[in-house]
Structure formats: C-alpha cells, structure tokens
C-alpha cells in the first residue's frame, strides 16, 4: 500500500481570491509580516500498486485526468510506501 500526497496549486498567473482574502484577514489580525498567501488543495490518496513506480504513474494519470485542472492548476506528487 502506498500513500500519495498530491499538492494542487493555482498557476502563478491565476488570481487567487481566497488567498487574497486570507492575507487581508491575517493583516487585520496583526500579522503584517505576511506577504502572500495562496490556497491550494492537499489530497491524500491511499492506493495499491505492484511497485512504487507503478503507483506513482497511476496517480500522476489520475491527477492529469481528474484531480487537477490544467487550465488553472499545477500539481505535484509525493509518494511513500506505507509500513505493513
């Protein structure tokens, strides 16, 4: 069994209304040191696979098809093998 960690973030060029709102709130809450906030997704996928590489390839495919939208998002995967 593997655990895939998928990070989905908005592309640089895409405005992030949620991130901007969070930044503004942090400023009013007394955190002026915050320069930028971007809000993305963190998806944890538990999956079987013959090998780590296979699991990673399959997960990459899932990301390209479903988990991220290439028009606005980028993604990044990390995969670890779970202890038995």
């Amino acid at each position: 069994m593997y655990t895939g960690q998928v990070f989905v973030t908005l592309k640089k060029a895409v405005l992030d209304p949620q991130g901007d709102t969070v930044k503004r709130s942090l400023h009013t809450m007394g955190y002026p040191e915050v320069k930028d906030v971007r809000v993305g997704k963190y998806i944890e996928v538990k999956l079987d696979g013959a090998t780590r590489q296979e699991a990673e390839e399959r997960l990459d495919e899932m990301c390209r098809k479903l988990l991220a939208n290439p028009v606005i998002e980028e993604f990044h995967i990390e995969i670890v093998e779970d202890d038995q």
Partner: protein, 233 residues
Amino acid sequence: MRFGVVVFPGSNCDADCYYVIDQVLKAPVEFIWHKETEIKGFDGLILPGGFSYGDYLRTGAIARFSPIMQSVSDFADRGGLVIGICNGFQILLEAGLLPGAMLRNNSLRFSCLPVNLKVKTDQSAFTGGFEADEVIALPIAHGEGNYYCDDVTYQELLDFDQIAFTYCNKDGLETPGANPNGSRGNVAGILNRERNVLGMMPHPERFSEGILGGEDGARIFASMLKSFKEGLG
C-alpha cells in the same frame, strides 16, 4: 425540435428546465439520465444547473466523466445545439467543450440575485432572437462563476465573436461594479468556435415567465427553436 435535459446525480435545475420547455415553449422534452451512452432523437441538449456530484473537488470535474458526456461531445461535433447553464457551463468547461475554467466568486460567497446582461452577439442559435448589445435581465445563483481564461484564449473569444453575454449595469456598461463574481472581461456566457455550444452562468429558465419577474430567459430557448426550424427550412 426535441429537447433533452441531461440529469447528473446532483443536478437540481433539471426539472425547472424541463418545465420551461414543456409548459412555456410547448416543445417536446425528455430527461436523459447521465448513465445513458447514446443520444438519439434529440435536436437540442440542456445541461442544467445544480451541484453535480456535490461540486466536490471542482465544479463539474466529476460529472464530465459521466458516461453520457462522450455522447454529448459527439452530439456537439455533429452540430447539435447544446446549452450548459450554471453547473452545466462548468461541466462543459471541464469537458473541454468550451475554453477556460471557473474560479470561486471573488466575494467568496454564493450569490443569488438578478443581474443585467449585455447580449454581445446575435449571431448564434441561442441569441438570434435578441438585438446585439441589447440589455436583458436574468438571475444568477452560483458560488463559482468567476470565469477565467488566459490572454490568448480571451483574445480568441473576442476575435471569433464567441462572447455571448457579459455582466453590465442597466445602461449597458460593463463596469466592475456590475460584475457579480470577478469574471474576466465581465464574461457571463460564451460560445464555442462553431457557435452551437453555449455555456452561461445566469439562469434563463428562472426568468421565462412574467410571474417569476422576467421573460428574457424564454427568448433564449425560443431562439433555439426558431433557428432549428430555419435550419430545416
């Protein structure tokens, strides 16, 4: 002209669209369950609003993998008329039948209110019954209607006259204040290059009877009917 209303799990404007076609337009209409793999005997498709698959992950992201979507795409390729309303628009974007993507409203809140729209083109089956630049009123109800596309795509939309509706004030000006969600260029609805697929965030089915506050919505469906009949003639 025979209409089909595609029903995904979580669609919730399906019955409203059906009602308008059936009771206001008096045209034949049927529901099409998303697990169907064939679209036969229909001349126009409506992808209704709602929260297909709960809008989980991204709006429209999961629905676009429903079995029916391949046939919707084939139907559009054959030149069939497809209108996606609200969630239906989001599904068409995810499916790549229309360019761009949807972001959350810049208010981060769901917004339900009537808005003014400018009809940007009368050169389509959906807008043929309007004057270009006419100002009409329709309600919106969405949390993610903040239309996004990159510069190249936006220029193409302009160059090919693909923008169907924009948000405007009552004088027809496309001001930031008239934009309810932050969408690029105040875009409220777009066409594909072939002009037979329309996606729009406002709900024409909700303003199709005077008792509900407006009738501009019915004109979109009526345009579809008229253009279909002319196409046959």
